[in-house]
């Protein structure tokens, strides 16, 4: 009888059930989409923040001071220590290698530019543009095009294995050079593949493939410093602690959190004779920005959950209120309060499960759409959320119906049937 009651109620009141079901579906859709966006927003914004540049720098441990003023390097070129280029792929072998979006080695070299019989001392910066690197079975492209996305080239980027160079914008203007011209640097004729604009010191420099810079300097494999772009977690008091003073489990927790400090520590471990440090301008501020945006989206998600819970409750309350006469009839035929309430709760549970199921799928699609249109990347929803969402849907539906059901079962059948209230 109970099953029949519920079944017939769904069969005969399709319109009402559809309305309530639609409200639950919509509520669950919004809730799912917002939870998916909120859990992923940190990662997405973190990637956007990488456009500001690398947040870690690796230098030789025993290096002399940099003597550099507005892009002019006064340090003797062979002075100081170097890192070994062969060690660089190990960066991708650290614990947090998936968080490292790219790295770019730098080797500034002083060169003489010969032009119209005049000599001029300028800096040639050797680096990777988009060099394929392999570590283990993995192959990936890295270089300034990943770590310094604000660098703009008119013309073409040089190939990493070529002898082509990029000419800084201001230097090119001073020498009235264009892309595809050739330039004489320290006795070599090099082709200019493009004009580089960065807004920084590189505008006065020549940027070349790393191998070419090493060749000019006469030090194969030499790298002055490496910029590393990593997705990090905002730094907190725990992150600032000294790893040497930590005991086992605490050290493990520190080591396995993607703080700028712990990633720097791991870089230092993997590259021999190196010193890795966060670039505070980038690393410190991105933590603050990230915390703010995550906090904002979290609060907004709470608002979304609240609004969808309210919508579900309102729809359920309306649906039950309209069925007073039915309640009256059931009670007049001898149904107890418990029997009436269980019919309503069973219906609510069915609606919630159905709405939760459809809403979860729709919410996943919505989150995917938001990810694609705003961030150009996937927002995937963890399958583990599915049971959670279903349980939340049932709880919210029950909570929303509870007041209305209580009122309905408390009705005097006589009044309910007469329609007086």
């Amino acid at each position: 009888m109970f099953v029949r009651l519920v079944y017939e109620s769904f069969r005969r009141q399709k319109r009402r059930k559809l309305l309530a079901g639609a409200a639950i579906t919509l509520g669950v859709t919004v809730a799912t989409a917002m939870i998916a966006v909120a859990t992923d927003i940190g990662d997405k914004i973190n990637r956007e923040l990488r456009t500001i540049g690398a947040n870690l720098v690796v230098t030789p441990q025993e290096d002399t001071l940099d003597v550099e003023i507005s892009g002019v390097n006064l340090k003797p070129p062979s002075d100081g220590a170097f890192l070994n280029e062969a060690d660089l792929p190990k960066i991708k072998g650290t614990f947090w290698h998936n968080n490292i979006t790219g790295f770019a080695p730098m080797l500034p070299v002083n060169v003489t530019l010969q032009r119209d019989g005049k000599n001029e001392d300028i800096t040639l910066l050797g680096t990777y543009f988009a060099k394929p690197i392999s570590f283990g079975k993995e192959t990936f492209n890295t270089g300034v095009r990943t770590t310094h996305p604000w660098w703009k080239v008119s013309g073409a980027w040089p190939d990493d294995s070529s002898h082509d160079v990029l000419m800084g914008e201001r230097l090119a203007a001073r020498l009235s050079l264009k892309a595809r011209d050739s330039v004489s640097l320290s006795g070599r004729q090099l082709r200019v593949s493009g004009i580089l604009s960065t807004g920084g010191a590189e505008d006065d420099e020549v940027v070349a493939p790393l191998a070419l810079a090493q060749e000019i300097l006469g030090k194969p494999g030499a790298v002055r410093r490496v910029y590393v772009s990593a997705l990090t977690k905002p730094e907190d008091a725990f992150a600032r602690r000294d790893p040497k003073s930590m005991s086992g489990p605490i050290y493990d927790r520190w080591y396995c959190s993607p703080y700028p400090q712990s990633i720097a520590f791991q870089l230092q471990e993997s590259i021999p004779h190196s010193h890795a440090e966060q670039i505070r301008q980038v690393a410190q501020n991105e933590g603050a920005v990230l915390t703010r945006i995550e906090g904002l989206i979290f609060l907004v998600t709470l608002a979304a959950l609240f609004a969808s819970a309210l919508a579900v409750s309102a729809a359920m309350a309306t649906a039950i209120f309209e069925r007073r006469a039915e309640v009256g009839l059931m009670k007049a035929l001898g149904a107890g309060r418990f029997a009436v309430a269980s019919v309503f709760f069973a219906e609510a549970a069915l609606l919630a499960l159905f709405g939760g199921f459809v809403g979860f799928a729709a919410g996943g699609m919505l989150a995917h759409q938001i990810g694609r249109s705003i961030f150009n990347s996937q927002i995937t929803i963890a399958p583990v959320l599915f049971p959670v969402i279903l349980v939340i849907a049932v709880i919210v539906t029950f909570a929303g119906s509870a007041a209305a059901i209580r009122k309905a079962v408390g009705l005097d059948p006589v009044f309910a049937l007469r329609g007086d209230l």
């Binding site: 989409a33 966006v37 604000w150 440090e277 410190q284 501020n285 603050a288 609060l299 609004a307 006469a325």
Partner: protein
């Protein structure tokens, strides 16, 4: 609070011939709200919540840009002034830049030379205004800022070269030498770590070199910053004005994406809230079909009935929107305090939108059931079928 309803209702009623209708209309409106307190309150509650959520979301959406821009100014300068072709800037460049920026940002001068330590090693020495640098480059990790003249701030990598035991040291530049006391160290992870910083006054009297760079952190939208750059170019013709592209582009990207996400979230939330109001109100109006039937049976015209329910809906919408607006401003301010540690400024420009939106939703939810009911004979409704 029923003032609006009374006025618009009175307009409708005034078109009818006699005065008694006016007072009857009023009485019906008021009694309907008082007698069915529970359901009217539920409808009003839904309206208030929806309006509050909508207000808070719109307010945040409008304000988040300003809030995040403030965060991004912690990245330091977004405009750099340098002397053309490597020359120094005119001595009044800082005060000129300051007057252009006029409180909407921070300006700090930097002068650089390569000096020698007592054992002949080359080191970059910078002169600057510590008070301004503190505001501009907040990420500098400084153990102790110099306060007295002839005190220096030493980069963490330069410490071992100039003053490993924290002792006073000498630097010389073109035959002139200066005796300095280290006040503290600075760590930034970039070029500053290899430098020694002095106050600009000490620096100029020692080297005679004027600042070659002025860094400006200007606040505002990209258009405002572009305008500031043009003004700087006009005010200081001897300087080349450059944007710090990486900061500007990163800021624009992150702001754009955050706003887009917030807009998507706000639309979803407002849509959900509006549908919640719609379903509650439709239920409310539908539940009163007997009132409707009785009025119709007693001879009320369709126009009067429409007017009555529309006035009721409008009153509910307006009341709900106003209360919700105040509440929403409160929520937005709270979020601002919790998340950004600064209040979100109430945007009254949001009010017309919230008010209009509420009215549309309430009127829609009154008119839909009424147009359904109008086709039914009053007798059928009264019989309870």
């Amino acid at each position: 609070m029923k003032g609006n309803a009374f006025n618009s209702g009175a307009d409708v009623a005034a078109k009818r011939e006699n005065a008694p209708h006016t007072s009857m209309f009023m009485r019906m409106l008021l009694r309907a709200a008082v007698l069915r307190r529970g359901r009217a309150a539920a409808a009003l509650f839904a309206m208030v919540v929806a309006a509050a959520v909508a207000t808070a979301m719109l307010n945040l959406y409008v304000d988040v840009q300003a809030k995040l821009r403030r965060e991004f100014r912690n990245y330091g300068a977004n405009i750099i002034l340098v002397g053309r072709d490597g020359t120094s800037l005119p001595p009044d460049a800082v005060s000129q830049a300051e007057s252009v920026v006029a409180g909407r940002g921070v300006v700090a001068p930097f002068a650089l030379v390569v000096a020698r330590t007592s054992d002949g090693q080359a080191i970059v020495v910078a002169g600057s205004d510590f008070e301004r640098v503190r505001q501009l480059d907040r990420w500098w990790s400084v153990s102790n800022w110099p306060a007295a003249p002839k005190e220096a701030l030493v980069g963490v990598r330069a410490v071992s070269v100039v003053s490993p035991k924290n002792q006073p040291f000498d630097l010389s530049f073109q035959g002139h030498s200066i005796h300095l006391t280290p006040a503290g160290t600075v760590q930034t992870g970039s070029a500053e770590d290899s430098r020694v910083y002095l106050s600009l006054a000490d620096f100029v009297s020692w080297t005679g070199v004027q600042p070659s760079t002025v860094e400006v952190a200007a606040t505002g939208s990209p258009e405002e910053i572009a305008a500031t750059m043009r003004q700087l170019e006009q005010a200081i013709p001897a300087a080349e004005v450059r944007p710090v592209r990486q900061i500007m582009e990163g800021e624009a990207r992150v702001l754009g994406k955050t706003r887009a996400t917030l807009l998507a979230a706000a639309s979803l939330i407002i849509l959900t809230a509006a549908l919640c109001v719609l379903s509650t109100l439709m239920g409310w109006v539908f539940g009163r079909r007997r009132d409707f039937a009785i009025m119709k049976a007693l001879g009320a015209s369709d126009r009067l009935l429409n007017g009555f329910f529309a006035a009721e809906a409008a009153a509910l919408g307006a009341t709900g929107a106003l209360i919700g607006f105040v509440l929403g401003i409160g929520i937005a301010a709270w979020i601002g305090r919790v998340n950004f540690h600064a209040p979100v400024v109430p945007r009254f420009s949001v009010l017309p939108f919230v008010l209009a939106g509420s009215m549309v939703v309430t009127l829609l939810s009154a008119i839909l059931p009424i147009s359904l009911l109008r086709r039914v004979q009053p007798a059928v409704i009264l019989r309870g079928e």
